[in-house]
């Protein structure tokens, strides 16, 4: 039986933006009460900045802020450790250490967090992590597995809808936890919308297309999320209806610091499209952001005329 007092909390940050529907559906299918933290706001960011190690990356600080907002109303926090999801790729060190960072920052006992450990992409590992998840909330393994199967099926079937057809499109590329977080990208997206352009992001393209696209970078890029970005950059740079590319990354993001340079050289410079790389951090005023996007937009329009 599921313990009566179980209430699982899922922070709406980091990999939630990749696997979110899979996780929430799993708990819902299994009949476990689950709640999400709210959208990122100033308070959450402030708490996260205070709690986190100074030089950790912005998404990690945001994550801690979300966990903090869940602690008072949830009995368990769901913090999966995902190291490898695809055979050829890894995730960065922050994801591998996420459960430990959460546990150490909040001094949680091991019972308070649910940590499925996805170390390798293998069927055995998959079963193990489902079993562990079920164990920690007192859910029997068989219904747990069925709930997972069902959730996985709907997650895989969830093919992103195409963006509206338009001949004025700007591609905004970055980690999904930055792009999908309204707090960070709202201003940029609003500005572009006000100029009547459609925005396309990697989320509008099927995952498989992006990973296939990324195959040409394979021996070099070994981070999964970076491969997705690389795939998106190379995919968008070939589309004739895309007027320009905006790359968004966060300050102190380890993979991005090198991958951006790599993509700039191998993809963006060759593509003959205007591009800009924007780095965001927690001290950012939106005026600086808007000015840069405006300047970029001027460049795009100027290119169109000539």
């Amino acid at each position: 039986m599921i313990n009566v007092h179980v209430h699982v909390g899922i922070p709406r940050a980091m990999l939630y933006h990749e696997f979110g529907s899979l996780w929430t559906n799993f708990f819902r299918n299994a009949g476990v009460p689950v709640s999400l933290s709210g959208e990122t706001n100033k308070q959450i960011l402030g708490r996260g900045t205070l709690l986190g190690v100074d030089e950790s990356c912005l998404p990690l600080k945001v994550y801690l802020g979300h966990v903090d907002s869940l602690l008072s109303r949830c009995s368990h926090i769901f913090v999966p450790r995902i190291c490898q999801y695809h055979r050829n790729f890894h995730f960065c060190a922050k994801f591998a250490g996420l459960p430990d960072v959460v546990r150490n920052t909040f001094r949680l006992s091991p019972e308070q967090i649910i940590v499925p450990n996805v170390e390798y992409n293998s069927p055995v590992n998959q079963l193990q992590s489902i079993y562990n998840t079920c164990q920690s909330i007192g859910l029997p393994a068989i219904p747990g597995y069925l709930a997972y199967r069902q959730a996985l099926k709907s997650w895989k079937a969830d093919v992103p809808g195409n963006s509206k057809p338009s001949n004025r499109k700007i591609a905004v590329i970055g980690h999904s936890y930055l792009l999908n977080d309204n707090f960070f990208c709202h201003d940029i997206l609003k500005f572009l919308a006000s100029r009547g352009v459609n925005v396309v992001t990697p989320n509008h393209v099927a995952r498989k297309v992006l990973y296939d696209e990324a195959k040409i970078f394979e021996p070099d890029i070994y981070w999964q999320l970076s491969a997705k970005i690389a795939g998106a950059a190379s995919f968008f740079s070939r589309q004739s209806d895309i007027l320009g590319i905006i790359m968004i990354s966060s300050f102190c993001c380890g993979p991005d610091s090198l991958v951006n340079e790599y993509l700039e050289h191998h993809v963006l410079k060759k593509s003959d499209k205007p591009y800009i790389i924007i780095n965001i951090d927690e001290h950012m005023g939106n005026a600086g952001l808007i000015t840069r996007v405006e300047a970029f937009w001027d460049l795009v329009e100027w290119r169109q005329k000539s």
Binding site: V53, G97, V101, Y222, L258
Partner: protein, 363 residues
């Protein structure tokens, strides 16, 4: 193309260049060693590197640029670190050097270091027999381990003497001496005489000096230019430094022992780091936490954590170290090093920390 003699170079990392140089020289490979790391190396490296990347990348870059200026055309570097950024270094470094044509990279994968090293030496020195190559690899490891042993002796006796400067001087002389050794016997005898000389200067044996454990990222721990010779600074203050990261040990366990399946570093440190860190986090994160916790339990007097700014695994480790320090009531000094950190800032902090340790120790 093959008729041309390749001029090999490699980035500096502590005293690693001593055995590498002697190994390559013995095999008749032409080496152009990068000039010792200086301010110029740092400036060149930072100039030609992406802004947000970690310090070891910038240093490696500086080393490569300086040695290419002197005529090197084959750059040897290591890769394959998994979760950490190091595996991606060469992909980006290549972009810069591509413009300079005539330069090729040779990568040694840390996951199969021994076979990669062997293959590299065979291609670089085709005239040398298999046995000679193997003998030279073994000798390089031996040299590294001798250097490690001398360093350990310096840290141990240096804190127990009234003249630490002299011990440091003997140690440096011994290292230079070792660079000239060409057989196992000579290495052994040089190591032993140096350690004996250092031991003889130890005139303060009756008391146990305060002990700190030095942990952090591999490169920063080993390269004295980057860490401002933190070990020497501490022993001059009369504090014994214990370090768990040694190149010789690392190479030994990653080539021979791992090849034979006798040793898995991850596993060993995973047990030590519990309950503060329960999973491998890439790089040296787990090792840092594991050895800090071990020393905290053994009654050390302080922890110094040193890493390049923004190092991903060490940032994860830091959250665990904070808790260890407060649970065991140990002072913790965190030094995050980037290209802007001036020696004055670092030295002052280390001195203040040393004072704090000593006062706590006397009580």
């Amino acid at each position: 193309m093959e008729a041309e003699i390749l001029k090999v170079t490699y980035p500096h990392m502590g005293y690693l260049n001593i055995p590498v140089l002697s190994m390559l020289n013995n095999l008749g490979v032409e080496v152009i060693e990068a000039p010792p790391i200086s301010k110029k190396t740092l400036e060149l490296g930072s100039l030609y590197s992406p802004e947000g990347v970690c310090l070891p990348y910038k240093m490696n870059m500086g080393n490569f640029i300086e040695s290419i200026d002197q005529g090197a055309d084959t750059l040897v570097s290591i890769c394959g670190a998994g979760k950490c950024r190091m595996g991606f270094y060469n992909a980006v470094q290549k972009i810069h050097f591509k413009e300079k044509e005539q330069v090729q990279f040779y990568m040694l994968d840390t996951n199969h270091l021994f076979s990669d090293l062997y293959r590299f030496l065979r291609t670089m020195a085709p005239q040398a027999s298999r046995l000679v190559v193997l003998k030279n690899i073994a000798m390089a490891i031996k040299l590294l381990k001798a250097l490690d042993a001398m360093n350990e002796a310096k840290n141990f006796y240096g804190a127990r003497t009234n003249s630490p400067e002299q011990i440091i001087k003997i140690y440096r002389g011994g290292s230079q001496e070792l660079a000239k050794c060409i057989d196992f016997k000579k290495i052994n005898s040089t190591r032993d005489t140096t350690i004996n000389l250092i031991g003889a200067l130890c005139n303060n044996n009756h008391r146990q000096p305060p002990k700190v454990v030095l942990i952090g990222e591999f490169y920063v721990l080993l390269e004295p230019y980057v860490n401002h010779s933190i070990e020497d600074l501490l022993i001059k203050q009369g504090i014994e430094v214990k370090k768990f990261v040694y190149t010789g040990n690392w190479v030994y366990s990653n080539t021979l022992l791992q090849g034979l399946g006798l040793y898995r570093e991850e596993k060993a440190y995973l047990d030590k780091a519990k309950p503060y860190l329960n999973y491998h986090v890439g790089g040296d994160g787990l090792k840092s936490v594991g050895s800090a916790l071990q020393c905290a339990r053994e009654g050390y007097d302080g922890i110094i954590h040193i890493y390049p700014f923004g190092c991903m695994p060490e940032v994860v480790a830091q959250s665990a170290l904070k808790n260890i320090a407060s649970d065991y009531k140990l002072p913790l000094l965190t030094l995050s090093i980037d290209e802007h950190s001036s020696d004055v800032g670092i030295v002052t902090r280390i001195e203040a920390f040393a004072d704090c340790i000593k006062r706590k120790y006397q009580r």
